[in-house]
Structures are given as C-alpha cells and as structure tokens.
C-alpha cells in the first residue's frame, strides 16, 4: 500500500491513466420515462470523476446500471477492453465495481468487524475466527486513519462514522472502481476530511472514483474531472481546472447561481416565539427570539445542540429549565400537539425517519396535519382532501403523477417538498426547517428558498437549521452559532464572514484535535 496522500490540489493535467471503463451509448428507459439518454464516456484508472446534476437528472440510474442493480435498455459497457453485461450486482462486484451509498446499507446490529467481512468471513472448520477478524478490521481502520473501534456494534456509531466504515469496507474487496453517492450528506467536517483522505489514497492506488455530490466545493476540492447530467442527458465533461462553480451550475440547471439564494428582506414584526434561558437534553441556557418576517439561522456541527433545541421548543422533548413565550405570553409546550396548536410547524431533519410516511400516498402525507380541519366529527371531506392536496402539489410543483402515488416513488427533492408542503395548508406562524436541503438539488433548493420568502411575506417566522454554511449565511437575518450545546455567537445578515463563523462553530474541537486543519 502506498500510503502517501495525494497532493491536495491535483495537477490539472491527468496522470496517464489507461481507460478502465467505457460507456458507449448507455441508455435506460422506464415505461413513460427516458431516465438516461445515450451516454458515451470513458473513465480512467486513478481518476476522481465527479458527476453532478439535479435530482432526477439520471445520476442514480447511471449508478444502478454500473453496479448491475438494473439492466440497461441499450448501449455497451466496456470494462478493461471487454464488453461487460453487468446483469447482476454480483457480476459488477466480481469485476471490482463497488458503491458506497448515501444511506448506509449495512447491518446495524452487527459489529464493525462483522460488517467489514460480511459475506467473506474468516472461518476455520466452520467456526468464525472472530478475534482475528476484529484484529484485521482494526488494522484496516487504523491504516486508513479512522479513529474508530472495530469491536463495537455498528448501530452505536454516528451515521457519519457508519459511512466511513462503509467506505472502508468497499476498499478491502479488490475494488478497482468505486462509486460514492453523496457520501458526505450526513458527515461532520472532520469525518468528511477523513473520507477525502481515504478517497485520495485510493486514487493513488489507481482506483477510479466516481464521486456524486450536490456540494460544489467538494467537487472542486476532490475531482480531476466532472461530468454534468441534466434531464438524463450528459451535457458536458470538464477538467476541473478549466471550469468553475458558475459554469457547472449553469450546465446543471440552465440558470445562474445568483438566482439560487433568493433572499427577500422584510421588516421584522412582533416576536412570535421567544426562548428564555431554555435548557434541555443536549443544550443549555439558550435564549433567542424569532419575529414575524424573519429567518433565524442556527449553524453548528451535527450534535452541537441545534436540533435538540428546536425539538424541545416543539415539545418533542422535555425542557429542564427556562421558559417559552409565544407572542409575548408564557406557554407550556408539553407535546408536539401543543406546539402545533400554538402554530408551530416542524420539517424534521430526516425525511425517511421523521418526515414522511413513505409507503402511503402523497396526498395523505400532505393532509396529515390538517385532517382534523377537513373532516367533521366523523367523516373526512373527500372534496377538501383532494383540493388541499392538489393545491400543494401544484403550488410547490411536486413532480408526481397523481396525489395517489406513494411518497416512496418520488425523488428526494420532491419528497422534501412534501415534508414542507404539509405545513402550508396548516397555516402555522413559526416554521422550523431542520436541514431542509440535504440531498436536494440546486433547482429544488432555489424553489425551497423562494418558498421561505412566500412564508415570510405572510407574516410567518422561520428557524432554519443547516450544517451547510452558505445556506444559513445567505438566508438568515439573524444567525446563531451553536457549539457543544451552547449558543456561542450571534450575527446579523452577512455581518460576519465564513471563516469567523466556522471558527466559532469549531473552536473547541480544533483545540482538542491539536491544530488539525
């Protein structure tokens, strides 16, 4: 193993890698949809090739074809000079093609080591060599520079750490071609750095990396080349040194970047909610006010106490001290029910776990908070149920064939629109958005931000939680920085620069890490 990490900034000229995988007119049609129009593209060994595009642009389809999860409609894939049918996942893996998915697909109840060797266990006479496997797994993890124990149960790690294990797992299986699908969506900065180190090392070993991300700065930090998909068409491939943010965004959405962060300023009105010295599990002594017409941004690392603060405000968890005032009057919020009755709405962090009933229709999801209103004592008004759902679908431009389609059949961005949309008819005054744009493409992001403006203009207030600094920076009228359960700094709209905010969010951690970048 050559363990020297690659140069931080890869040379603009590609190293003379040979072509390992070639797509010739690769195409996928579903009934009614042309998911991927014929794509011709060559990947070289030892390159990091980013693929960007909006949700639904065809990235997932491409991955599924390459990993043998789905059969292609037409076209050829040439692997090391020979046509590869890639009909089954097993075949793809045998060739050395692996993928690390955004959602960790490992066994959460097994240990890290057991997961590392899942399907390739070390056993002697049918008896698992557990200790040997833990030892070996630990060696691999240490080697990669991850500070993680191999003997613990995977589910006890954070999502980010699990992601690192998933990546480590893929590297020990003779991988020559490794696809990362939005790997950093749930990672902290430190974890992301560890992952990038791993990716660069793999590159150094000649592995081809496909890197899919919505985060432009990561693409520029890592990739050698970048390909852009739009509506199933490959609209361009660029050397990273010869392109920039603006060009890529334009290729992706046919729209300029200024139009994404669409910020309207309103004169803040009366206070809607005020937290006075609120403490609870995971945060202490937090005070803040949200006024009508204002976006209050909460920035900090995952686990800094932002989500805990808002879920306590929302009555999901008990507060241990402090007071909540709603429109100037002290209130008790003992349950979500109380919060909703006051006029709060929460679009939670995880669509899958907290936001949506995935195997139920879009319409039911949209109407869930308002069934009380659209039914009399006994029956639901079918007409109202239809009108309300159809209106949100139209207003938010949710791409769904009908309101009867299951939420699971929609793309991530459209699912997020449902999570937000279900509160619009409810008529809340305070909207809490926890990471509303994770895994959402630029176009949908712009639509969500525009929606913020519409809410504010109606006199609502917004709490916006984000781990993505540009987002809170460009949108928040007041920006609170959280660190380790405390509110450590407060800024106005663009009154501090990125670096200052980052330092405030990270400070202690950096000291602890002893000056790691």
């Amino acid at each position: 193993m050559t363990s020297t990490a690659q140069d931080l900034h890869p040379a603009p000229v590609l190293e003379p890698g040979r072509t390992i995988l070639e797509l010739r007119g690769l195409e996928k049609k579903y009934p009614g949809t042309h998911a991927l129009k014929p794509v011709t593209l060559a990947f070289k060994s030892g390159e990091i090739h980013a693929i960007v595009g909006e949700n639904g642009a065809g990235k997932s389809t491409l991955i599924k074809l390459l990993t043998g999860v789905m059969p292609r409609t037409s076209g050829e894939v040439i692997w090391e000079g020979k046509p590869a049918p890639l009909a089954t996942p097993h075949e793809a893996m045998a060739l050395g093609i692996n993928a690390v998915h955004q959602e960790v697909v490992l066994c959460r109840h097994l240990t890290v080591a057991a997961n590392m060797f899942l399907g390739e266990e070390n056993s002697r006479f049918g008896i698992l060599q557990q200790r040997a496997m833990v030892k070996e797994a630990q060696k691999i993890i240490d080697d990669l520079g991850f500070d993680l124990p191999a003997h613990v149960v995977l589910g006890d790690l954070t999502i980010g750490q699990q992601q690192l294990i998933a990546a480590a797992r893929a590297t020990v299986r003779g991988t020559k071609f490794l696809i990362f699908d939005e790997p950093t969506a749930y990672l902290t900065r430190k974890e992301a750095d560890q992952l990038f180190t791993l990716i660069r090392r793999l590159k150094g070993e000649g592995v081809t990396i496909i890197y899919i991300s919505h985060r432009m700065e990561e693409v520029f930090e890592l990739a050698d080349r970048v390909s852009v998909l739009r509506d199933g068409t490959l609209v361009g491939t660029r050397n990273i040194a010869e392109t920039n943010d603006a060009e890529l965004v334009k290729l992706m959405i046919n729209r300029s970047i200024e139009q994404v962060y669409h910020k309207e300023h309103f004169t803040p009105g009366a206070a809607i909610v005020e937290a006075r010295n609120l403490s609870g599990k995971g945060f202490e002594n937090v005070s803040m006010t949200v006024r009508a017409g204002e976006i209050v941004g909460l920035y900090g690392l995952i686990g800094a106490g932002r989500s805990e603060f808002v879920t306590t405000l929302y009555g999901r968890h008990k507060k241990s001290a402090g007071q909540i005032l709603w429109e100037g009057k002290p209130v008790q919020v003992n349950s979500e029910h109380d919060a909703i009755k006051l006029g709060m709405a929460l679009a939670p962090e995880s669509r899958r776990d907290q936001g949506l009933c995935l195997n139920l229709p879009v319409g039911l999801n949209l109407n869930l908070p308002i069934y009380k209103r659209i039914s009399n004592n006994l029956l639901i008004s079918g007409a109202q149920e239809k009108t309300q759902a159809d209106r949100q679908i139209a207003d938010l431009r949710i791409k769904t064939p009908t309101r009867h389609a299951l939420a699971s059949s929609l793309s991530g961005g459209n699912q997020q629109k449902i999570v937000i949309g279900k509160w619009l008819a409810h008529g809340a005054k305070l909207f809490i958005f926890d990471e509303p744009t994770v895994g959402v493409d630029v176009g949908t992001k712009a639509e969500i931000y525009r929606l913020f403006g519409a809410l504010l203009s109606k006199g609502a207030g917004i709490i916006l939680i984000s781990s993505y600094l540009p987002e809170v920076y460009e949108l928040a009228d007041t920006l609170h920085v959280f660190r380790r359960g405390k509110l450590v700094a407060t800024h106005g709209f663009r009154t501090a620069d990125h670096e200052e905010i980052l330092t405030q969010a990270l400070a202690e951690k950096q000291e602890k890490l002893g000056g790691k970048t």
């Binding site: 065809g58 139920l360 006994l378 769904t400 009908t402 009867h404 793309s411 459209n414 279900k422």
Partner: protein, 322 residues
C-alpha cells in the same frame, strides 16, 4: 424518476378495490366449482351454514386488521372470544337482562383492548408479547372462574338469535354487515382511519405532524378487543355455553383472513372488505372440503398452501405495479 404531472391515469388508489375484486372473483369461482361438483353445496341450508361459519372469523378479522395496519398484532382475540362467552353466560344466568349482559361483555372486550394499549404505549412491550400474555392468562382466568366446567346458558331467546334468519339471511351474517359498514367508514373515510395508516407507516413522522400516536394505538387494540368480545357474544348465542377454551386458534384464522385480504403485516396496507372476503374464502374451503369428504387434516394443509399462494401473488403484483 417521476415525470411532469401526467393526468391521473395510474390506478394506484383503485388498487385496493381491484384486489378486492380479484378476491371476490376467487370466492365466486370457488362457489361455482363447488356447486357443480357437489349436490349439496348450493342448497339454502348449506349456504346459511357457510355464512354462519364465516361470520365470526370475519368480524375478528376486521378488528385484527385495524391492529395490523398500525404495524402491530393481536394474538389474544381467540382467548377474548372464549373469555367473553364465559362472561356473557355468567351474566345471563345470573339474571342480568340480555341487553345489559351483552353490553357488559363488550365493555370487558374494550377493557382488554385498553390494557393492550397500556402495555404497548406505557410499558413499551411489543404487541406480540403483551397480546401473547393475555392469550394465555385470559384462558386461565376463565378456567378459574368456571372451575374448568362449561356453563350452559338458560335463555332460549338469546340462543334463538344466532339460529334465526332475517330476510332469508342468517342473523350472524347480518352482524358482519353491522360491523363491516361502520368499520369501512371508519377506516377509509374518517381521520382516525388515516391515522391508523400513518402510524403504521411512520409513527415518528405522524407524531411530528400532530397525530396522537398513543391514542391511535389504544384505539386499534380497543376496537380489536371489542370485535372479539362481540364475537364471543355471538358464539355464546350459537353454542349456548360459556367455556373459556372455545375459539382455540381463531386468532390465527383471523390473521390469515386479514393477510389473504391484502393486509400487510408490516403495517400501513389494508382494508375492511379484504379481510371479510378472506374470512369467507377460508370458510368456503373448509365447507367445501367437508362436502367433498376431504380429510380434515388436509383442510389445514390446503389453508396453509392457500395463504402462501395468495400472499405471494399479491406481493408479486404489488412489486410489479410500481
């Protein structure tokens, strides 16, 4: 990937209805085959008998379906039926007016359901465990109360009810309609029904959307207990005795009917008409097998195979329909 708003053509919603029709077709097919192959199947007597046989499981299956839709299971219903026959018999023999005796028996069912809700919501027990515990202990309590004996009910009017017919249809089958129609409206046209589905699909998302998840779970188990107690009353009327060991294994027949009727054991998928059809399909198979002189042991095997086949094809279509 979803495409731009296509006019609503995909019959996603009619899925339930379609599946119902397939089941109905299967039921009719069975009836036609049995009418042609046996002389006695199509007789009024046998049809009445068949409807009586299927009715009680059908009502149990409706209550069971509410629970399964929330992602739970109610293993206690058979035991509740047996226990309810004891309560009803004791009350009636003690001279309590029949109407009041029935009401009190139903309240016992409600209490058992509430207890299940309590165990799941407040004590955090898995539905399988708490209802399994009631299954065994209710039979035990019933045996203690009766000293292991059967109680004969001394009330002819009460027993007449289950033998009589109204408009040529057995009273027991009318009871299915009495339960089925409100249950249908409740599940498919009231917000409580929607909440059953949403809790079964994602309890946390429902909670954050303002759905009272705990109350919804209490409601599901209470309705299941109520249905079971009601069936207990009907069984007491039909057989004329109170005995806690009756209705052995009915919980499994109710679950089987529900599943044959398209209910997903993972929750969030189900209907009222499906389980009703499922119950009568099972009853028809048993009835037909008797008429055809099929060994009773074979009937059980046939039922098992049928469950596998129907649920397999249902799953195939569900996946294919995506």
């Amino acid at each position: 990937m979803s495409t731009e708003a296509i006019p609503a053509e995909k019959p996603k919603r009619n899925y339930n209805a379609l599946f119902g029709l397939t089941l109905l077709a299967l039921l009719v097919l069975l009836w036609v085959i049995l009418s042609l192959s046996t002389s006695s199947f199509a007789s009024a007597n046998n049809i009445s008998n068949l409807l009586r046989q299927g009715s009680m499981i059908a009502i149990l299956a409706v209550g069971q379906t509410f629970v399964i839709i929330t992602g739970g299971i109610d293993l206690s219903v058979g035991a509740v039926v047996g226990f309810a026959t004891v309560i009803a018999a004791m009350l009636i023999n003690a001279g309590v007016p029949v109407f009041l005796a029935i009401l009190l028996t139903l309240l016992v069912g409600v209490a058992i359901g509430l207890f299940h809700g309590f165990g799941i919501v407040k004590m955090g027990l898995p539905p399988f465990i708490i209802t399994l515990a009631t299954l065994t202990s209710l039979r035990g309590i019933g045996l203690l109360m009766t000293n292991g004996n059967s109680i004969s009910i001394n009330n002819d009017a009460f027993q007449e009810f289950s033998r009589n017919s109204f408009l040529g249809v057995p009273n027991l089958f009318w009871m299915v309609i009495l339960v089925g129609i409100p249950a249908y409206i409740f599940l498919h046209h009231s917000r409580w029904g929607r909440y059953l589905f949403s809790v079964g699909s994602n309890a946390e998302a429902s909670r954050l959307s303002g759905v009272n998840v705990q109350r919804t779970i209490y409601m599901a188990y209470t309705l299941s207990g109520l249905c079971a107690a009601f069936v207990g009353v009907l069984l007491a009327s039909r057989i004329g005795i109170g005995n806690p060991t009756q209705a052995e294994g009915w919980e499994l027949q109710a679950i089987a009917s529900s599943v044959i009727g398209g209910t997903s054991l993972f929750g969030a998928v189900g209907s009222v008409h499906g389980p009703l059809l499922g119950a009568f399909i099972l009853a028809t198979i048993n009835n037909g097998a008797n008429l055809l002189n099929v060994n009773a042991f074979w009937q059980r095997i046939i039922t098992g195979v049928l469950i596998i086949v129907i649920v397999y094809f249902d799953g195939l279509r569900r996946r294919g329909g995506k």
